[in-house]
Symmetry: C2
Subunit: 262 residues, 2 copies
């Protein structure tokens, strides 16, 4: 089982970065640790231009993908990992400390998955809405008296950890016994459906909620948020996702049909 | 054996840093990961002032120690660790990869030692002369196509590694069996003599070399360099250092006495 575990299966995603120096520092850390795929979500245009035109800017900065929404940036990823410190709020997702992240990343990639590592804006980090796209939060263990890290340094620390502990070791150690992965008891045998499929499913479920009168329209935003989190906790694989989607499409058809028939 | 293993036994030493933003980034990473002791060797005065007067500069920047030489900055340290990438030269000291550093640091501190982690100037890193004060080099594993890291990011990565793998774990795991440390076969039972003692010894040995006509005066600089490296490879403990010093003082006295007697 020679799986190509490599940093090209990891997207680094910056949500609305502001400081061109920080953007440059992120690109440099990526080049240092062998990562090449950068996505930037709705950057502040002048600063983004400035960062890309800087002398000696790594090629990966010129090749970076620009998207309007985080949903779009992570659509093809099977494991979306948010970063940040959790001083102000309680996490709605599982939280893992950075030194424990590498085995999860190795398992996901060994199974053929694709990972996004998402960093928020300098001032306030990822919002609750941003985090609702994440399956998992990773926390850099810092001193409680000074928990907030600089963006360029946070990226460097995360990529160092992955480069030296997820990618530098022989692939064998990710799943010691290949037979295990067929077993339902193994952590996860097939990677989850990509973020975009989950969102398609979420849309149909949401329509079903509305069509069924599940909850008042004023609850729609809150329901959408909770649903997104729920689907990422469940992390259905692509086949199951299609199956559930089929079910809800059927339900939805029936709901509309019944309403029309009334 | 409740040894106080803590980051205050580690000095972060910057040799001639130039960019005030980098100095600020170093201080921030130190605060993030719980390190407080910063030394700066012959900084460029205006930039050093600028870094210290920056808004929101951490207290540790104001408390930083300023020295003229690296020798002075590391004089009380028993394990001096140089940092950098070794693309241009062959190391004269043992090299350890950053992911393997934590156990060495833990052992050294558990034995009552004191550590310096030394970072060179942004442009060219530590010189061969700077490195001659180091017992050990640590290398951040980076992509060979882009090996050179930004100073603030290099410090962040090193301190993250130590904070999460040398200081956050229970002390017991440093030496699983306390009886082992009395055994000569253990890596090192007593910390080495501090850098200042080794330099005192080196001075007397050098005098002895000259007085004995060991080598021509044109070789003096090269000999001094090699001697410094040799003593750090040997890493004699304080008692042995005093013993060797006593021997060479005696030799020196004899050499002078013989010359006078001729």
């Amino acid at each position: 089982m020679e799986m190509p575990l490599n940093p090209q299966s990891v997207d680094i995603v910056l949500v609305s970065p502001r400081n061109p120096l920080n953007i440059g520092a992120v690109a440099r850390a990526m080049a240092n640790f062998g990562f090449a795929r950068l996505s930037v979500v709705s950057p502040f245009a002048p600063h983004w231009r400035e960062a890309r035109s800087a002398v000696g800017a790594p090629e990966l900065l010129l090749d970076a993908r620009e998207t309007v929404t985080l949903a779009e940036a992570v659509a093809t990823c099977t494991l979306v990992i948010g970063t940040g410190t959790l001083t102000h709020r309680k996490a709605e997702q599982p939280v893992v400390s950075l030194p424990s992240l590498a085995p999860l990343v190795r398992d996901e990639l060994a199974g053929g998955g694709r990972i996004a590592l998402v960093f928020g804006p300098e001032k306030h980090g990822l919002t609750r809405e941003d985090l609702s796209w994440c399956h998992l939060l990773v926390e850099i263990p810092t001193d409680p008296r000074q928990p907030s890290t600089n963006l360029g340094q946070a990226v460097a620390v995360c990529l160092y950890e992955l480069a030296s502990r997820a990618f530098s070791q022989p692939v064998e150690s990710a799943s010691q016994n290949p037979e295990d992965t067929a077993d339902g008891s193994a952590r996860k045998s097939v990677p989850a459906a990509p973020s975009g499929s989950l969102e398609l499913l979420a849309g149909v479920i949401e329509e079903s909620m509305l069509a069924s009168g599940y909850s008042p329209e004023t609850m729609q935003a809150a329901n959408r948020h909770d649903l997104r989190l729920l689907l990422r906790r469940l992390a259905p694989n692509p086949r199951d996702t299609r199956r559930i989607l089929g079910l809800f499409r059927r339900i939805l058809w029936r709901l509309h049909h019944t309403q029309n028939g009334k």
